[in-house]
Symmetry: C2
Subunit: 333 residues, 2 copies
Amino acid sequence: MARAAGVSRATVSRVINGIRNVDPAIQERVRQAIALTGYAPNQAARSLVTRRTGVIALIASGAGSGEENPFPGQIFADPFFGRVAGGVVGHLRPLGVHPVLMFADTLESRDQIISFLRQGNADGAILISISAGDTLPKLLADASLPAVLFARPVRPIPISYVDVAHRTGGKLAADHLVARGCRRLATISGPLDLPASQDRLAGFQEAMAVHGHPYIPCAEGNFTFASGEAAMERLLAEHPGIDGVFVANDVMAQGALGVLGHHGRRVPGDVAVVGFDDSSAALACRPPLTTVRHPIEDMAAEMARLLLAHIEQPDLPVTSRIFEPILVVRESA
Amino acid sequence: MARAAGVSRATVSRVINGIRNVDPAIQERVRQAIALTGYAPNQAARSLVTRRTGVIALIASGAGSGEENPFPGQIFADPFFGRVAGGVVGHLRPLGVHPVLMFADTLESRDQIISFLRQGNADGAILISISAGDTLPKLLADASLPAVLFARPVRPIPISYVDVAHRTGGKLAADHLVARGCRRLATISGPLDLPASQDRLAGFQEAMAVHGHPYIPCAEGNFTFASGEAAMERLLAEHPGIDGVFVANDVMAQGALGVLGHHGRRVPGDVAVVGFDDSSAALACRPPLTTVRHPIEDMAAEMARLLLAHIEQPDLPVTSRIFEPILVVRESA
DNA sequence: CTGAAAGCGCTAACAA
DNA sequence: TTGTTAGCGCTTTCAG
């Protein structure tokens, strides 16, 4: 464009990038020419010199080293992932940064992601690991690509992360259930190879021990609806007298609620239920779910901040930031 | 890199881009040098000359012209959107194309999206409109940006789209419910300003008329869980004798199922329920939902094909492709 | 079959 | 304050 504005391209560039030291009159003239010609600067040319794309990778990372379902499954439909994605978009969009959706399910896809980043397709990555044994954090660290994890990695890795105090969450649930008068408690945990699951469980058990309940029956799930149902069935079969359950995420809690209803148990009358996440599933439960709120929006904001900082200053030391959960009391407990 | 390979960069480029006419020996030498040096070609430089990015925009477009929730809400958590996103990723990833997640909720965000595309940040767009009166399709067409819609636009617009035969879907549900012996039917529709909702409803009503039921009570919802509950409550209040319901999507059906249970109605014994989409919500229903399957993966594949074709040949005439739904019989009807 | 050279469109020194 | 100039790192004619 826009030497039709009667100035040099350098000046146009300065106006577009909001650099001062440009005569207001000329600034105006350039703006008009832009509006008139419908000029849109070429991002590739721009990235080539600025070495920045305004794009980050938002990665849902599962285990998988072989081949699986060709469709990145219902991960994207998980209310938890949805809330994270929403939080990230909400905070990055005003800054003109947009996320590329990626799914790391196979060895190949992990390599593809690393290449994608190394080629400068994106400036950094936000990684949401949904299973243990994920090798992507290490690959990212080894390639020293700017990245932030949504949760503490299984093994220590020099990479920044944001997490919630899972143990505190477990304790909140325990305290609430005990305060409500529950005496025969049980819990449905997430996959026990995940630190998050371990910590929620440990926090719950420890708090229960303090309340004088040294042993708590536990059924392991994998954060899916169906696994929540199955776990609840097992618990009910082995411990029919249960009067309170802490479930490690809302989606499983939703499944558990259905099973309880099926077995004629009233919630919260016969059995009180507390979930975890405060995802949209909590409001889709009947009765609405009392749950431990994962402050995802705050965490997403912090991840955005951290990632951008790492992008700006590649040698910034890695940090972690732990958020405190709170109990949201609704009707299920 | 890699004049360390002892060849010119032109040759390296040829090897990387898999262009023939390269001596196998040299080809091998280049590959080794690449592996050795860990060379990764710069995508910006590449895009600058090829005018292609390998990125497309995946847009969830709501209505909204003012300001709303700062967080792109639970759209991303909707099982329907999740399935579309998964289908798109599944088909584009093998081709080395990745989607940027965008949310068009405000006037401003729509402009931002158009700029994003015009600046060459992405080669084209896939748009999933989740409300009527969306102006984005028109903006895209006016800017003649390569784009494909997930559904027929409300008003005719010169832009390609992929859709499902909603009327057929409604008919499938009607035929099944009647064949099952239901006599007092009702339906919960989606927002009636959406063509998709209108067509599902019309298809259902017309088929019912053929079966001798000229009038079918209808309650309008907006595709959310809560609206499904509310609609079912209304229906039950006004027509307590209902013995079959066609619900325009699975998420609302899930809500309806809960309400029916609450009112002591057995499903499918007292009331049979048929949903629409066959999203993950259908399997999370109790009993599992009989539903009209939206062939989203096939549709996503077709969208990918169409979009890439439009990107290759900018003057390709617009087309549409309508897919046939099928009935998936489970336990709810 | 391979190399040399000319840009792609922009930003960022450096002059003026 | 503005214009000139030199690349950013690649692909792609065009010679050889």
